[in-house]
Amino acid sequence: MDTLRSKIIPVTTILLIIVAIWYVGAVAMNAPFQRDMDSRNNATPGTMEFIGKTLAQPKPTLPAPHQVAQNFFENTFTRKITSNRSLVYHAWVTLSSTLLGFAFGTVLGIVIAVGIVHVTTLDRSLMPWIIASQTIPILAIAPMVIVVLAAVGITGLIPKALISTYLSFFPVAVGMVKGLRSPELMHLDLMHTYNASRSQTFWKLRVPASVPFLFASMKVAVAASLVGAIVGELPTGAVAGIGAKLLAGAYYSQTIDIWSALVAGSVVAALLVALVGLAGRLVDRAMGGRPA
């Protein structure tokens, strides 16, 4: 009852509003082309018939929601998942490099954060570079990474994963620096009175205290990883993956395909973020967290 009122109803309302706006937009944006076609064929459709036609074009400027839904359904559930027309296949290709890049990025982010928290020199020297790294547009970096790595013989999954790493290490590094510095002064004083070594303070206090920060930053990082993987697929000649699907759709003006690939990407992103959130809740519960 509470979830119905507090979550389902508001979210559904917004969804319905978006769909309504989308339909209006689809009719408006597809109308000029439809009017052009009709005048060539000397057709004089009534208003309702005209609207129906704008929502059923094979290559519309803006596909209608039901066209995207139908395409998404067909390419997800009715194709063999090994077929390169299957969205499941493409989503899997993107997902695998997302996960690999996310794993790299998380490890790298944690390592950098540990270094920054423990070595003053790193704190001063590394942090500006880390922030600067994220101001460079990923679209500019991605093709260079792919080309350079291909020149030294590394192709396939790794270059794409590295682009994900590039985007995902940042939130983890920043979050973990904050997390490892989050223990209260009183807790640090306590460890001091025990004459605890630096590594004891690290493992028994800083690490457990940083766990909530880790999961919060991993949620951001996993979404960034997916973006990185998709961007990484664009310059590779677009063989497979959601990025490839987007690019191919753009080449052949298959607007419906583009939109359903976008939907597939969003579904994957939502699943990944939800999974990280779930893992975070499970760990929190295991660490004695108060049930919300």
Binding site: M186, L190, T193, Y194, Q200, K204
Partner: protein
């Protein structure tokens, strides 16, 4: 009386000046104090009088800027490295991700005691503070008073002869505070520890202590040291006796003499 007992804490002309943005602040100035073994010494005074700072100097959490201080004949740093004291903070400062017994085990893990010895000490101290049965609970599942008792258990598990307590019951309501004061006295009688206890409650100081150190701010200094004439056995209603009230009045006079009641 104190001269005969070996000194646990001996401070001489102790001073500490903090450098702040508004200029130097004298937190402690010219503190001379000797605390003998088995004493229960309370430090009382308004905020800024340096009572917590003095405790933190004993614990090597602050470095004095002048004078000298020894703990069992050692410098505070050596004493800390030898783990000569247990410290109880104003808040319970339990680790929220550890159960109560794992919290009590924390200092024991750090010393590196064998598991069996850890378990024995945990059991013993949990019984001392009346928390047996709550070992597997997490801190948030306990009331404020129980959390503070757990933090006392953690300090006791250390088995140091000196216990430093910094307003440990300051955040608790009076009923819980009375109860914990009574338990603390029993614990002190049972273990023969030396206790330094910071408070800003006059009745609490008089009820607990064998000696009350009255302090004043600006600069932080000792204005009076009052020996308690109360017996070691102290039921809660001792606080209505004329003897108790006379000591409380002396403490209040000491505070007034140090201008503690002025703005």
């Amino acid at each position: 009386m104190t001269a005969v007992k070996p000194a646990v804490v001996a401070a001489s002309k102790l001073g500490l000046t903090f450098q702040t943005n508004d200029g130097p602040v004298q937190a402690l100035s010219n503190v001379d104090l000797t605390i003998g073994k088995g004493e229960f010494v309370s430090f009382i005074g308004p905020s800024g009088c340096g009572k917590t700072t003095f405790l933190r100097v004993i614990a090597d959490l602050e470095k004095p800027t002048s004078g000298s201080i020894t703990i069992n004949g050692m410098t505070p740093e050596q004493a800390r490295e030898k783990r000569a004291y247990g410290y109880v903070f104003q808040a319970a400062a339990l680790f929220p991700w550890r159960t109560i017994e794992r919290n009590v085990a924390l200092p024991l893990e750090i010393i590196g005691l064998p598991k069996a010895e850890q378990a024995a000490r945990i059991k013993r101290t949990m019984e001392l503070v009346n928390l047996a049965g709550f070992e597997k609970k997490y801190p948030w599942q306990l009331s404020g008073g129980m959390q503070q008792r757990a933090s006392i258990a953690r300090a006791l598990a250390f088995e140091a002869d000196l216990l430093l307590m910094d307003e440990p019951f300051g955040a608790l309501d009076e009923i819980v505070r009375d109860h914990l004061n009574e338990q603390l006295l029993q614990l002190w009688a049972a273990t023969d520890k030396t206790i330094c206890f910071v408070t800003h409650s006059i009745p609490e100081a008089v009820y607990l202590s064998t000696r009350i150190v009255v302090m004043s701010p600006r600069p932080g200094r000792v204005t009076d040291v009052i020996e308690s004439t109360l017996p070691r056995e102290r039921p809660l209603d001792i606080r209505e006796t004329p003897e108790f009230l006379a000591i409380a009045a002396r403490v209040r006079d000491g505070l007034r003499a140090g201008h503690s009641y002025e703005d």
